[in-house]
Symmetry: C2
Subunit: 198 residues, 2 copies
C-alpha cells in the first residue's frame, strides 16, 4: 500500500470541508466567505483551495452531491399508488432536505450554471413520477382533465412559494413544510379533484 495514512487524512479533510460547507451554506446562504467555512471546519483557509481550486468547484461539488442524495430519496415516489400519497412523500423528502433546498431555490443565481442543471434534474424526477400517476388518475375520472405540466407547476409553485416566504408563514428555525404540509396537500387535492369536498 502506498501512503495510506496520508490518503485517509486527505480524504478526512475533504469530507470535513464538504460537510461544514453544506451545513454553513444551509444555515446562512451561499454568500458566506470561504474563510468562515475553513474556520468552522477547523482547517486552514488555504486547505480549501488545496481540495477545491476555486469556490465554484466547491459549490458544484456540493450541489451535485446534494442532487444525487435527494435524487435517491425521490425514488420513494415510484412506489406511490395515488397522487395524494405521492405528493405527501414529495413533501417529506423536501422537508428532509429543507435547509439546503431552500438555499438552492432562493439563491440559485449565486451559483454557477452547472448547479442550475441539478435543480432541473430534481424537478424532472418529481415531474416524471407526478405525470405517471396523474395521467392514470385522470383516466379514472376523479381528477380534473388538465395538462399535467400545468398541474405540476401549480404544485411546485405553491410549495416553493411557502418555502421562499417562510419568514411570513412560520417562525425562525421552524420548518414551514412541517407546519403546512397538511394544508398544502389538502388544498391542492381539493383543487384538482373534479368535485371539492364539502
Amino acid at each position: 500500500m502506498k501512503s495510506l495514512k496520508r490518503q485517509i487524512q486527505k480524504e478526512n479533510t475533504r469530507k470535513k470541508i464538504i460537510e461544514t460547507a453544506y451545513r454553513i451554506f444551509s444555515e446562512k446562504g451561499f454568500s458566506v466567505a470561504t474563510s468562515v467555512i475553513a474556520k468552522e471546519a477547523g482547517v486552514s483557509h488555504g486547505s480549501i483551495f488545496v481540495h477545491f481550486p476555486t469556490l465554484n468547484d466547491l459549490l458544484v461539488c456540493l450541489v451535485s452531491e446534494f442532487g444525487d442524495k435527494m435524487g435517491e430519496s425521490l425514488h420513494l415516489l415510484a412506489k406511490k399508488d395515488s397522487i395524494e400519497n405521492l405528493l405527501a412523500e414529495h413533501l417529506n423528502v423536501l422537508e428532509e432536505y429543507e435547509a439546503f433546498y431552500f438555499r438552492l431555490i432562493s439563491e440559485i443565481n449565486l451559483l454557477p450554471n452547472e448547479a442550475k442543471s441539478t435543480f432541473v434534474i430534481i424537478q424532472s424526477k418529481v415531474a416524471f413520477h407526478f405525470s405517471n400517476i396523474m395521467e392514470r388518475e385522470i383516466k379514472k375520472g376523479v381528477i380534473k382533465k388538465l395538462p399535467t405540466h400545468m398541474m405540476f407547476n401549480t404544485w411546485i409553485g405553491l410549495v416553493h412559494y411557502y418555502m421562499l416566504n417562510k419568514e411570513f408563514f412560520s417562525r425562525p428555525n421552524e420548518s414551514v413544510l412541517h407546519r403546512y404540509k397538511g394544508e398544502l396537500l389538502s388544498n391542492y387535492m381539493n383543487l384538482i379533484n373534479r368535485e371539492s369536498e364539502v
Copy 2:
C-alpha cells in the same frame, strides 16, 4: 425664490440617478456596483452619495417608489367584476412592471428589510381585491369553496414560479408573462371551477 436653478439641477441629478438605477437594476440585478450606475447615469461616482448616504438608502428609495407606482396600477383591480378579469388584470400589471418585479422576488434577500415590507404591501393589495371577489363568486356556487388565502397563494405561487424560472419557460428578453398569461389564467380558472371545461 431661493436658489431656484440649483434646486432644479439637484433634483435633475437625483432623478437621473433614480431612473438609471431602476433601469440597470431591472436589467442586471441589485448586485451591480454603484460606480456602474454613476457612469451610466452620466454623473460622478461621488454624486450618488451626495443624494443617498448609503447604497441601502438608494435601494429603499427605489423599492418604495416602485411599490407606490405598482400599488397605483393595482387600483385597476378594484373595478373588476369577476375573478377571471381580476387575475387577467393582475397579470397585465405584473407584465407592466415585470423586469423590476422579477428582481424583487428573485433577489429580495439582497435588499434591506425595509424593502421586504414593500413586497408584502403589494401582495396584500392584490390579496384584498382577490378575496373580495372570490368570496362573492364562491357564494354564487361556480367556484370551489376553499380558503381564499390558499387559493390566493396558489395563484401567486404559480405566477411567481413562471417568473422565477423564466429562463426555462421563455427566451432571453422575452416576457414570460406575455407568453403564458393565457395558459396560466385558463389553467387556474379550471382548477378553481367546480366543474372543469371539457
